[in-house]
Symmetry: C2
Subunit: 296 residues, 2 copies
């Protein structure tokens, strides 16, 4: 079986590759990215998927494709035209190029906008309020139509906040959700920009990669986007767990109203569709921390 | 004031031009279309908006633009890639090109899919079930985001069934809704493919053009799409009105289940947003018939 992973050198992409090496060593992988930070046994295609030749090479011979490459939220907000090209046009062209084959697209909880009003369930209507969430939502609608027409197999997976991303968090306004892990681990003083009561939907990159692989290798197709399971974590509980693990941690809070609204106001989450498909969140906050640090 | 009308030689476009000539003779018009069936005093740009040079010429000097050009529903369903280029990419590029200016996009009730379950109101969530409705819905979402960012003024107007389109109805599955007018008028026997109880949302092209002009020249901006007012007409009532007007009419019914579901199962329609903006449906079925025939 031949699989293509776009964003193959990204944070989630590398975790997916590790997961596939561990669980499905026989698959042939083609990794696509604009640069690669390390060598490896998999075939690599260096290029930009906005280039039609790169997109053709990425899709030509594979049985299934996992599309992770994206322009992150803060960068998308600053450059809507670039986001349209990367976060909308590329996935739409992948849907066309992968006709009749399996395609798994990384969506995002950003489609719900900041601070959804009530509990979020599978039938909650997305109301994006960012360029990133808007383009992710548009792709969901296009994918659903392609499934309706029988033109594609696979699914769109809405990823929650993935931790712990590498420090620095280029382009992600949610970087603090990962940076707090690195600061605690290193014993560096850190001010979390939301109050202890702030709640976020988090998933370790390990659990996220397992869900991506399950969707990529699965035999089911779902037209409507699938919200991935996540732990709803209060920032105070996360800090307490990290402090127990790293007694040298020195973490305080100083709330930024915008970050609180955008990344720290997530209500209860129910993901019946994903649960029924066997997709899983980290079982508890302690194991989320362990998994996040194992790959941070 | 300089206005551009795309699809300027189309059925709605020509009605908009007539309306503007009658009510706003001082505006400078640029009509854009791939061909023109007749000459006229307005400037004409012959070309395909998929060509970046044509799109640049169409948008360069205007204060406001009305985008009517589209690939109709049946044609879009048969050619999703072409629909993506025409019904999605072109409006998205118009949103970018018209930044800071006024843009009115022709949307469609097709975003609601066939046979909406209950009454349709402004907050009814669209659930498109066609390529055409999917692309129209994606454009709505992109437009709302551009308004949120302050990048554009104007609105997306969801057009109902417009009557009476020219006979033949290239690409529109709803052609029978117009063809029944022409057959009644000509005294040609005609079998309406839906039962007398079938209900559709109809608007004369005259009323539609008046609404388009009001939106184009208005000073209001609305991020969420505006469903235009329409008469909910039972096919039996329309046939009765036509038969009263044209005693030689010979119209019978023979229901096609698909056409009934897609074009003849429309529930109650409430358009508070449009009503508050002064947009209007034809006042009653008799005047709808008169207006439809005056321009058919």
């Amino acid at each position: 079986m031949r699989l293509t992973i776009t964003g193959g050198d990204g944070f989630v992409g590398r975790a997916v590759v590790r997961r596939l090496r561990d669980t499905h060593a026989a698959v042939e992988l083609l990794l696509v990215d604009r640069t690669f930070s390390e060598a490896g046994p998999e075939r690599r295609l260096i290029g930009d998927l906005r280039d039609p030749a790169v997109l053709a090479d990425a899709t030509r011979d594979c049985d299934a494709l996992l599309h992770l490459a994206a322009l992150p939220g803060a960068a998308a907000e600053g450059s809507p035209v670039e986001s349209r090209a990367i976060n909308l046009d590329v996935p739409l062209k992948l849907i066309e190029a992968m006709q009749g084959r399996r395609l798994v697209l990384a969506g995002s909880i950003a489609v719900f906008g900041a601070a959804p009003a009530g509990p979020v369930e599978d039938d909650t209507v997305p109301t994006p309020d960012s360029v990133y969430g808007t383009h992710k939502r548009m792709v969901e609608i296009a994918f659903a139509d392609a499934v309706r027409r029988g033109a594609i197999q696979g699914a769109v997976l809405r990823l929650p906040g993935i931790v712990a991303r590498p420090a620095g968090g280029g382009g992600f306004g949610s970087a603090f959700l990962s940076d707090v892990f690195h600061a605690a681990c290193a014993g560096v003083p850190y001010v979390v920009p939301v109050a202890p009561e702030a709640t976020s939907w988090l998933c370790s990159v390990t659990a996220c990669a397992a869900n991506c692989v399950a969707a990529l290798l699965g035999d089911w197709t779902w037209g409507e986007a699938i919200t991935l399971p996540a732990l709803r974590v209060a920032m105070g509980d996360l800090v307490a767990t990290l402090t127990t693990r790293f007694p040298q941690a020195c973490i305080t809070h100083d709330e930024d109203a915008i970050l609180r609204r955008v990344f720290g106001s997530y209500p209860r989450l129910m993901t019946q569709r994903a649960d029924a498909l066997g997709l899983r969140a980290d079982p508890d906050i302690s194991r989320l921390v362990s998994a996040a640090l194992a790959t941070g």
